[in-house]
Symmetry: C2
């Protein structure tokens, strides 16, 4: 009965603090639906009926439609005219393409980050590396994953290019959705690479930063393929009774 409550807004934008601007309903619906898709409440391939969702979320059809169309544009669902929306079920080459796109985006971000890095940025990056490594060594996967996300996010932010940020964020969410179980595998190496990356950025070495980030993401891609190779027989109906299966990823 997931009913929508007043959506929380962006965390802390410094300086001018705009007053509580009530989030448009369609936004909340969008968030709620992506959340439900990611955590598996809405299984892949499931037919999403507008009135049903509307009832589920306690809103009318309109906001649901609008959210569904956005989800469609961003590839979360597929809209078949006259029939409705189905939760997107990824082709097997899709993850690979996604990772490839991300490699390009993040590599470029790293290059620009190296170009524009401020002292504070570098300090934060170092801190994140330390924290992340600590999490990893303590076996706190969730913490490590979260920190990893923050690190990558900060680097794209540092690029100062809003388009790279947007695209990377979009790709990242998708990747995290259907590429969940790699985190534990690559923990240690991943943080070693992060350290090298931050070093390159702090030195302002653009090429090296870009190159390091590229290798980093390519390693992740490789890890995915290895994992894929191990998991033979991609059976079409893997888990007959799967509910809130949720796991996250270290890139």
């Amino acid at each position: 009965m997931t009913t929508i409550s007043a959506g929380a807004t962006d965390p802390v934008s410094p300086g001018v603090r705009h007053v509580k601007r009530p989030t448009p309903l369609r936004e909340s619906v969008y968030e709620a639906l992506t959340e439900m898709i990611i955590d598996g409440t809405l299984e892949r391939g499931r037919h999403l009926v507008e009135v049903e969702l509307a009832g589920m979320l306690g809103v009318s059809r309109q906001p649901v439609r609008e959210a569904l169309q956005r989800l469609n544009n961003e590839g979360w669902v597929d809209l078949r005219p006259g029939f409705g929306a189905m939760v997107h079920v990824p082709a097997e080459d899709e993850v690979d393409q996604l990772l490839a796109a991300r490699a390009a985006l993040e590599s470029e971000s790293a290059r620009l980050a190296a170009r524009h890095a401020t002292k504070e940025d570098v300090a934060t990056l170092r801190e994140l590396c330390k924290v992340g490594t600590a999490y990893h060594e303590a076996g706190d996967i969730d913490g490590a994953v979260r920190t990893n996300g923050e690190l990558h996010s900060l680097i794209t932010q540092m690029s100062g290019n809003r388009f790279l940020v947007d695209f990377a964020a979009q790709v990242d969410r998708r990747v995290r959705w259907y590429y969940t179980p790699v985190a534990p595998v690559r923990g240690a190496a991943s943080w070693r690479e992060h350290n090298r990356l931050v070093k390159a950025i702090s030195e302002g070495d653009e090429d090296k930063a870009a190159q390091t980030m590229r290798e980093h993401t390519e390693h992740t891609r490789k890890a995915y393929h290895d994992l894929q190779a191990g998991t033979a027989t991609p059976d079409p109906t893997p888990d007959p009774a799967p509910r809130p299966r949720r796991r996250r990823t270290t890139t």
Copy 2:
């Protein structure tokens, strides 16, 4: 009075020929609006009122709203809650960021294109180069611009990565919109670079292809800045009575 007619669908997908699937109205509205934005019928900063547009296009508010929201997500308009949509007026650093993002996307596309190029692809690329150069030498700017677009588009297609294709297409439309008057400047050099690029792709030299494409797009970026420097005083209201001013770009 721009009334919406049945939108044309994708050109020719070989084999299974799906029958005419009537395009949703919101789609046609979206197309119509982008078109009107690009060709200047709807000037930058103009206040777009839903009912007004609805009347203009001969549809009801609903499809217009849905189209506007998509336009908002893609950065063509800015939606101010309670007031309406304004045609986006780009910040001055925006073109630059757009071009930077495109450099990354197209460079990566070129790399992958070099990896996956087939004989037919290369033949088509060569042909396009020839045609484009001919257009340019004949002074047919429009033809050269069109061919240029086809060439770049084909290369991203050749990457085989749908996300790169999507992102690049999105960026490209934006770029073409508010970065129109560079075409003539860079004609000759541009086609020389294209030739080098195609050569690298045909040889399967990924690094060289990526590098060449990067330089190519960077040159365009530079050209933009030079042009910008020449056009001092970016007067806020440049043309008092501009109508269907339309011009295209050679990248």
